[in-house]
């Protein structure tokens, strides 16, 4: 029992943080968002440390299994979670709002995503999926209470519930047919048996909810809708953490469990990826809400990540992984910049609000430009590395049509990016911006360091991580 508990210590540490936060909330008088952030930070650091130590140990091997691959993504979730918490702390301090719920739900989300990533059991998968979706819902509820937003939340809840149910039912179908919830047994079964239409329906019932969590078109609707309305810390969480979790699970499932259905899901994902590319690129061009605009950029990036992954060969895995890292660092950087877009205590989110910001905040504007360049996959930014790897892989696979379409979508997306740059740099300033917190600069600086290291020495990402990705390599 103890050994099992120790092996699951990353999750346990995080869960331990929850009661501590509630106790502090109840008994401590001088509590600020820093208090809850500190608890989350300490617990996350402990969790990361223990995760690294017990990277290949599993407490309940029939439900969750850890290996280098899952540990890598779990650590990603934790590190990015830590970064988000750090920036969110500034937001809550500025707004003077209670952050208990935010940190509690956030920590819970990290735990559920970690379980989701390491799950090898469909019951656990559906449970973790439901909890994480539910926590996202609760996080969203922390935001504004206007009618439009409330309606959006309700829509999210309905679809979240529907997709959670789909996973559960699909899991049940496989259990009914094969007699087991475990991935390995299902994979073994389909290695010998052919897929029938009911199986495919069950497979779709698992794939679609995960794609919904990933935010690929046309299942991106809630993500985009909420990104424009939710508060900044929640928007940031929503744009980063579920993507990591969903990507890790999808990759694991499609390669290790449903590889025999590749003839179905490869063209399916190809279509969805291309739709994402164009949908994201074109919609971003006309969007005036900054967060939604970058939400569409994320949609484009998710499309590119999946397109790079498509042949599901080793090169595809590596290239989409590199793109994913570039995406995560970039979107993290973009949201960090959003934290600096503060005028009279309000965080601005409209494109017009940041007109001429360069004249007052040159460094922030330049940094956002750098992130935009990275999004566009232009050298010498990190995004280029991702684009290079993905396109190189597509060329190897002789998938020239996808390259052509991806490049065309990129050209369309550039319109949106240059619109943002134009507004920031070339238009007349309409607002007076507040002083930017040093912590935000620190985050941006750290991000740029990662960028530089990544660009100058991509071997760090590619070669070092390649060994960690071995469990899903063929």
């Amino acid at each position: 029992m103890f050994v099992q508990m120790v092996a699951q210590s990353p999750e346990i540490f995080l869960l331990m943080g929850l009661p501590i936060m509630f106790l502090l909330n109840k008994y401590r008088k001088n509590k600020t968002s820093k208090t809850f952030y500190s608890v989350s930070k300490i617990m996350l650091l402990f969790s990361i440390l223990s995760g690294i130590i017990f990277y290949n140990r599993s407490g309940y091997a029939e439900y969750v299994q850890n290996n280098t691959y899952t540990t890598l993504y779990k650590i990603f979730v934790q590190i990015f979670g830590l970064g988000i918490f750090f920036l969110s702390c500034k937001w809550f301090l500025n707004k003077n709002r209670s952050s208990l719920q935010y940190y509690a739900y956030g920590t819970g989300l990290i735990v559920s995503l970690m379980i989701l990533i390491s799950s090898v059991h469909f019951l656990v998968l559906s449970g973790a999926y439901f909890i994480s979706s539910l926590l996202i819902y609760y996080l969203m509820r922390l935001s504004s209470e206007d009618y439009e937003y409330e309606m959006g939340n309700r829509r999210y809840f309905v679809f979240m519930f529907m997709f959670s149910l789909m996973i559960l039912l699909s899991g049940l179908w496989f259990y009914h047919k094969i007699g087991s919830w475990e991935y390995a047994k299902i994979a073994a079964y389909y290695a010998k048996h052919a897929w029938n239409r009911a199986d495919i329906m069950a497979f779709a019932g698992i794939l679609l909810p995960l794609l919904y969590m990933l935010g690929i078109a046309p299942l991106h609707f809630n993500r985009i809708e909420q990104s424009g309305l939710s508060i900044l810390p929640v928007g940031m969480i929503n744009q980063i953490l579920p993507v990591i979790g969903a990507y890790a699970v999808i990759l694991n499932l499609l390669i290790n469990v449903f590889s025999t259905a590749s003839s179905i899901y490869v063209p399916f994902l190809r279509i969805l990826s291309i739709v994402s590319l164009f949908w994201g690129a074109i919609s971003a061009t006309k969007e005036d809400n900054l967060r939604r605009l970058f939400g569409y950029c994320c949609l484009y990036s998710v499309g590119f990540i999946m397109l790079g992954l498509l042949p599901f060969n080793n090169n595809g895995i590596t290239s989409s992984f590199v793109y994913l890292i570039a995406y995560l660092l970039t979107i993290f950087g973009v949201y960090s910049v959003f934290f600096a877009f503060k005028s009279n205590g309000e965080y601005v989110s409209s494109l017009q609000d940041i007109s001429g910001i360069f004249s007052q905040k040159p460094y922030v504007s330049v940094l956002l430009t750098a992130f935009i360049v990275s999004f566009a996959g232009s050298p010498p930014m990190l995004g280029f590395l991702g684009k290079l790897q993905s396109v190189e892989n597509m060329i190897r696979e002789q998938d020239y049509w996808s390259i052509g379409l991806a490049m065309l979508a990129l050209l369309l997306l550039l319109n949106a990016f240059f619109r943002v740059i134009r507004v920031m740099f070339f238009e007349i300033r309409t607002k007076n911006f507040d002083r930017t917190d040093r912590g935000i600069y620190f985050c941006l600086f750290l991000n740029m360091i990662f960028f530089l290291v990544g660009v100058l020495n991509p071997a760090l990402f590619i070669e070092q991580f390649e060994t960690l990705l071995q469990p899903i390599m063929r």
Partner: protein, 478 residues
């Protein structure tokens, strides 16, 4: 691993560091940004010294890339970043740096967005330096595309109300070119199953199907930078809309990347598929030359005249490069050296005249009579530009034309006609500016350049003259 202090990396890093220093340079109490300007000039001068040092390190007459620095950037795929230089790239680099200093002189009193201008200019300089020292297809592509952002920023900052339109054109042409070039680079890389240095491109063998696409992609992407019809449109739009010497200068240096790309990418023996492309390109080039020269002749805008001159020369160089004659290539490098300096000087002083004209509210006819120092420099540059033996342009054009005329007489004659037209339009402009009879300006009404700048410009004239008297005179022992 890259040697941190390797000289080629250093000449990329120096302007970049200069950019960072400029970015953090404090403004003076009166709001002037002299500090930024000084830092920028210092960075460029430091780089010029480094370039001259490189000239001393290389064997000037030895063909091929020298001082090669290799850096294993990625293992999977196996990509090496290779830097190297030859006389061609170094000559271009030196000319660009001198042109930048001339450009900085032109904007030193213009306080509008000066700091930003210096920052983006230095970033552009760093990227363009990287472009010219890159010796493999990947670094070539990286710097090829990286030059676009600073130019975009500068265009946006100094444009007028129509800037949205021409920025869109700029993006449409250049990003399309960059994206196509990216795919072509990767295709080449994959087809060759590994790293491709620029020197190896000359001996590359492709199969027919691949060849057809790759060469088309490379042609389109490189042409998107060169003012050949219909790609000339973005440059002409920019130049007719933006009245800023530095913007003009940078947007005029950009086509050089396309020309240089052709130098590096065209194989020594042209495959059959390419001869078709080249034939089409020759026709388009010649037609564009004449077309732009004629528009330059009728257009009253001085900046457009300079643009038409630049365009005609660029296309002449392009057509020269397409012959794949080593002699022509070397001469184009020498010619470019003078050409860039002349163009930069003409533009800077042309802008200076326009600014004085608008500030004083006077006509510019005969304006040069009121500012003798500018008059001397402007006249020298114009006469050098039209091809008189005042710079290396004369000798090199002689050799380029002798070969081009021998290769294709019809093409050569139209080229000569275009040269005559653009030269005439430049001369006409000079006469108009020096027409004492129409001069409605008094001697001290127009501010002349100060003594320091005049001496510097005389030094530039001396450099040009020396480039004619003794090409490569600045290389010891050459």
């Amino acid at each position: 691993m890259l040697n941190t202090f390797s000289i080629l990396s250093l000449i990329i890093v120096i302007p970049f560091l200069g950019m960072l220093f400029t970015l953090f340079a404090k403004e003076a109490e009166d709001g002037s940004t002299r500090n930024a300007c000084s830092v920028a000039v210092f960075a460029v001068i430091a780089n010029i010294i480094m370039i001259l040092r490189i000239f001393m390190l290389i064997e000037v007459y030895q063909p091929g890339i020298q001082l090669v620095e290799t850096y294993n950037w990625m293992k999977n795929p196996d990509i090496n970043i290779v830097f190297g230089v030859d006389v061609l790239s170094l000559m271009l680099l030196l000319a660009i740096h001198i042109a930048f200093i001339i450009g900085f002189i032109g904007v030193r009193n213009n306080m509008e967005h000066q700091k930003s201008l210096m920052v983006w200019s230095l970033l552009f300089l760093s990227m363009i330096t990287g472009f010219f020292v890159s010796a493999d297809i990947f670094s070539f592509y990286i710097f090829f595309e990286a030059t676009l952002l600073p130019l975009f920023m500068i265009l946006g900052m100094f444009g007028d109300i129509k800037r949205r339109e021409y920025i869109n054109r700029f993006l449409l042409y250049n990003m399309l070119g960059a994206v196509i070039f990216f795919v072509a680079t990767l295709l080449l890389f994959n087809y060759q199953h590994g790293m491709l240095e620029l020197q190896q491109l000359g001996n590359m063998k492709l199969n027919d199907k691949m060849e057809y696409f790759i060469w088309a992609a490379i042609f389109i992407s490189l042409l998107s930078r060169i003012p050949v019809w219909p790609f000339h449109y973005w440059i002409s739009s920019v130049n007719s809309s933006i009245r800023h010497p530095m913007v003009f200068l940078i947007s005029m240096i950009l086509p050089l990347t396309g020309i240089y790309g052709f130098v590096r990418f065209l194989p020594k023996s042209l495959p059959s598929i390419m001869s078709n492309y080249i034939f089409i390109l020759q026709i388009i080039g010649i037609v564009t030359m004449l077309f732009i020269a004629l528009i330059g002749l009728i257009n009253k805008d001085r900046q457009y005249k300079i643009f038409s001159y630049i365009t005609v020369y660029y296309i002449m160089y392009l057509l020269g490069i397409l012959t794949r004659n080593e002699v022509i290539l070397l001469n184009i490098a020498f010619s470019f050296f003078s050409y860039l300096i002349i163009v930069a000087s003409l533009e800077v002083f042309s802008h200076y005249i326009s600014r004085e004209q608008s500030q004083q509210g006077i006509m510019d006819d005969g304006i040069l009579c009121a500012c003798p120092k500018i008059s001397i420099i402007y006249a020298f540059m114009t006469l050098a530009a039209v091809g008189l033996p005042l710079s290396s342009l004369f000798l090199n054009n002689f050799l380029i034309l002798s070969d081009l005329l021998a290769v294709n007489i019809k093409m050569g004659i139209i080229m000569l006609l275009s040269l005559v037209i653009v030269s005439s339009s430049l001369l006409r402009e000079l006469f108009r500016l020096r027409d004492i009879e129409k001069c409605g300006v008094e001697m001290h009404q127009v501010e002349d350049i100060n003594k320091g700048i005049f001496i510097f410009m005389l030094f530039i004239c001396f450099i040009l003259l020396m480039s004619f008297v003794k090409p490569l005179w600045f290389v010891l022992g050459a």
